[in-house]
Amino acid sequence: MLNPALLAALGNILPATSILTASEDTRPYECDGLTLFREEPNAVLLPESEAQVVAILKLCHAARLPVVARGAGTGLSGGALPDRNGVILSLAKFMRILAIDPLSRTATVQPGVRNLAISEAAAAYGLFYAPDPSSQIACTIGGNVAENSGGVHCLKYGLTVHNVRRVRAVLITGEVVEFGSEALDSPGYDLLALVCGSEGLLAVITEVTVKLTPKPQAARCVLAAFDDVTSAGAAVAAIIGAGIIPAGLEMMDRLTISAVEPFVHAGYPQDAAAILLCEADGTPEEVAEEVAVVNRLMAQSGATLIEVSRDEKQRERFWSGRKAAFPAAGRISPDYYCMDGTIPRRALAAVLQRIAELSEQFGLPCMNVFHAGDGNLHPLILYDANRPGDAAKTQAFGAKILELCIDVGGTITGEHGVGVEKIGDMCVQFAPVELERFHGVKRAFDAEGLLNPGKAVPTLHRCAEMGRMHVHRGALPHPELPRF
């Protein structure tokens, strides 16, 4: 419970309806997309103006009250998990698209605007916002900036950090700061990049200017099947090595295909050991040319079947299987655990081989589905939480996969963030000398450590193993969302 004086002070900033304290009202905020961790917040605040955010943060700063900012709560690493002693600051009411400048190809929006809503608004100008996390129909741009979200398209169009021009934010002291600028470059330290992916630890975002991309005139998808995962990995290497940057390049293994195909009938060959989906976009001529090269490289790498989408309908059908991979896992296994490591592309075949060995060793099946083009793996470990020992084995298996990623020069999280989920693994990836720099940055922004404490960057003392995303009987948060 918040102390009454504080509650009264908040009442001077916000109308009573924008301060939630009753358990039935705050319960929906007890976790984000990572449901394994829950904490009921003391209070949920729903400001609707920047001035209110400033006043709230000043108050919290003076009272030394932790603040956890929250968008749509679709994060997968527990970044929006409430702090036991603090408040949730929801930006859900910041829902306005403030301006679209088709000439400069930018949109200025409030942080609570949904990712997809930006593309919908920009469509009138033939533009779209390129980063497309799988939760894009629900997740907000403020959350995307905080997590530096990716998506299928980021291979060609970049991550959030590449597609954000300017962020306006409030520091814990209540100061309003602008990072970046409307122009292409901005002098001094690149604080904008620091804020992107800072998981709510540095500032509360109140306005974002994003870069818009012209919609490609045409897009076609190549589906290729392989008899073994190594050849599929070689095809990925050949395509990227040829200097082609496809709009999307995704891979699924046999187990994934067998889970997905009966579910959505995407038209995948069931006897394949792996399939690749490779999308080309651009002008019709460019697309035709790129598809021809991709076809040739797939064939040279040993593809047993190659099919090119004939029309939009078929292209969407090819993608439907990829998008249904997570729910499909929930259909064939009582529980699954989604990992998110990134490796250098050339290590792909070796890492997949090693995961297969580990799968054997732990006696747990593992579906491999991932953004192959940028080496971002999403292995799904299938297990049954009701079978004694399975959960522990799963965690151990997962930890091995992340260590494997680091061993080959990769990272423990490609796009889902650290949050509370991977805070222990941060100690594996980063040496104390690097963690100290992280803490230095944090101190510069938030000396008292009030913004989203306990997330993203472990203290030097704390390098303990933590839990991971746990999905029981397919009870995925936001089951309506397509997942990648």
Binding site: P102, L103, S104, R105, T106, N148, G150, G158, H162, V177, E178, S181, E182, A183, L184, D185, S186, P187, G188, Y189, D190, L191, A193, L194, C196, G197, T213, P214, G243, G282, T283, E286, E289, T342, I343, P344, R345, R346, N376, C405, T411, G414, E415, H416, V418, K422, M426, Q429, F430, V433, E434, R437, F438, G440, V441, K442, A444, F445, A456, V457
Partner: protein
């Protein structure tokens, strides 16, 4: 933790440190006047400040050892590549140790499959591309000068083809940095994306050596395009040329380079680089990269736009030698401008505005130039909204210098007022310290706090980038 502390490094400590470095590094620690002089300034205005000693390290460990000594002695340390920066980045304002990284010049690793490579900081842009020959890959960032990769990362360089390939911000994947306490920090890595921890890579990129010394860089590479074509198009007036650029950007034609030269700059280039067949009119230089069909499509779309704005027929340079000659002329623009008035000096301004304000910004600036009575050619990477003036003045004429400074200032302030910046790519160094606060307001406090957190004794290139 104040500038005072560093403004007067203890002469005794400096002397002892110099002696120690001379002992440890022998011929690779130099105190001769001429070598210190050479390391006292970059290009642009010759405001020089001499370091006490210049050291030429060969390895990360040597750099770390030197910084560690500087840290213990509280003596400034300034990293130096080849000295092509324009805003006084390398001047040793408070003396100290200049660390010349030019002998750390090995390409460590090239990975064609991952389209990346790792280089030591002293590798130059041209050297890297020479070593990439035969791999089918290239590194596109091209600021004109043959700068070192370390210097380009430290200043967040961009250049003529940033419109297609981005700047160093987009193309540095990871770094090895020696931090202010002499410890070696590795940021980023081989993986294409990571959401673990704060983005230290981009923090060090563009920090101008004020947070640490960059010693190794992991870079993104690109496949050499199958087809490359360059073209020149001339316009009846400046507005038509600028509007052509704006329309092209809006349509999203993936032009690799699009450069504007105004009538004065074109005149200078024609004379200086002996270009034939061109008039002294506002001109756009284009380059298209892609498959043969892609290049054809892009250039047809581009021609349709420039036709609308009264552009001339395109003069093509499809042969590599012709292209080189053309871009050499573009890159020599600064020297060509200086040659317009022998004996003159030049301020290079560096405004960058949102594309939608580009026409207003350039046309209003052109009027300012006319009013000033000075010669100031305009040239720019206009696809990014970035353009430069070389404001020429007679260094012995106080009135001219004052007018030149006034003009440069007016351009900076206009760019800021239009939502842009006064430094699109040259950085802050110490020449532009005062305008940073105008542009960034509260953010400057944060930059200062970051600087203090990562360099508490202010020994890393003190007096630059962020006003303390």
């Amino acid at each position: 933790m104040t500038t005072d502390l560093i403004a007067r490094p203890d002469p005794q400590s400096v002397a002892e440190l110099v002696q120690k470095l001379c002992g440890d590094y022998g011929e690779r620690a130099v105190t001769s006047q001429s070598v210190r002089e050479h390391h006292s300034h970059g290009e642009g205005l010759a405001d020089s400040a001499l370091p006490d000693v210049v050291v030429f390290p060969h390895s990360n460990d040597e750099v770390a050892a030197i910084v560690r000594l500087c840290h213990l002695a509280r003596v400034p340390v300034i990293a130096f590549g080849v000295g092509t920066s324009l805003e006084g980045h390398v001047a040793a304002l408070y003396g100290g140790v200049c660390m010349d990284l030019s002998q750390m010049n090995r390409v460590l690793d090239i990975n064609p499959q991952d389209l990346d490579c790792r280089v030591q900081a002293g590798v130059t842009r041209e050297q890297l591309n020479a070593e990439l020959k035969g791999t089918g890959l290239f590194f596109p960032i091209d600021p004109g000068a043959n700068a070192t990769i370390g210097g380009m990362a430290a200043t967040r360089a961009s250049g003529t083809n940033a419109v297609r390939y981005g700047t160093m911000r987009e193309n540095v994947l990871g770094l090895t940095v020696v931090a202010a306490d002499g410890r070696i920090v590795k940021t980023g890595g081989r993986a294409r994306k990571s959401s673990a921890g704060y983005d230290l890579t981009r923090l060090f990129v563009g920090a101008e050596g004020t947070l640490g010394v960059i010693t190794e860089i992991q870079l993104r590479l690109y496949g050499v395009p199958e087809a490359i074509a360059a073209a020149v198009c001339q316009f009846p007036d400046l507005a038509s040329a600028v509007n052509t650029v704006i329309a092209a950007m809006q349509t999203g034609i993936p032009v690799a380079r699009i450069e504007l030269l105004d009538d004065v700059q074109m005149d200078a280039c024609i004379r200086y680089s002996k270009l034939e067949g061109f008039a002294a009119k506002p001109t756009l230089f284009f380059e298209f990269h892609g498959s043969p069909a892609g290049v054809r499509e892009q250039s047809e779309a581009m021609q349709a736009i420039s036709d609308e704005f009264g552009g001339s027929a395109y003069q093509w340079a499809t042969q590599a030698e012709d292209r080189t000659r053309l871009w050499k002329a573009r890159h020599a623009a600064y020297y060509a401008a200086l040659a317009l008035k022998p004996g003159a000096m030049g301020f290079a301004t560096d405004a960058c505005v949102p594309i939608s304000r580009l026409a207003d910004c350039i046309l209003e600036t052109k009027i300012d130039i006319e009013k000033s009575g000075l010669v100031a050619p305009i040239v720019g990477h206009v696809g990014d909204g970035n353009f430069h003036l070389v404001v020429l003045f007679d260094p012995n004429d106080a009135d001219q210098r004052e007018r030149a400074e006034g003009l440069a200032k007016a351009v900076s302030l206009r760019a800021i007022a239009m939502g842009g910046t006064c430094t699109g790519e040259h950085g802050i160094g110490w020449h532009k310290l005062d305008v940073l606060s105008q542009e960034h307001g509260e953010a400057v406090d944060l930059m200062r706090a970051v600087k203090r957190a990562l360099d508490p004794f202010n020994i890393m290139n003190p007096g630059k980038t962020v006003p303390l």
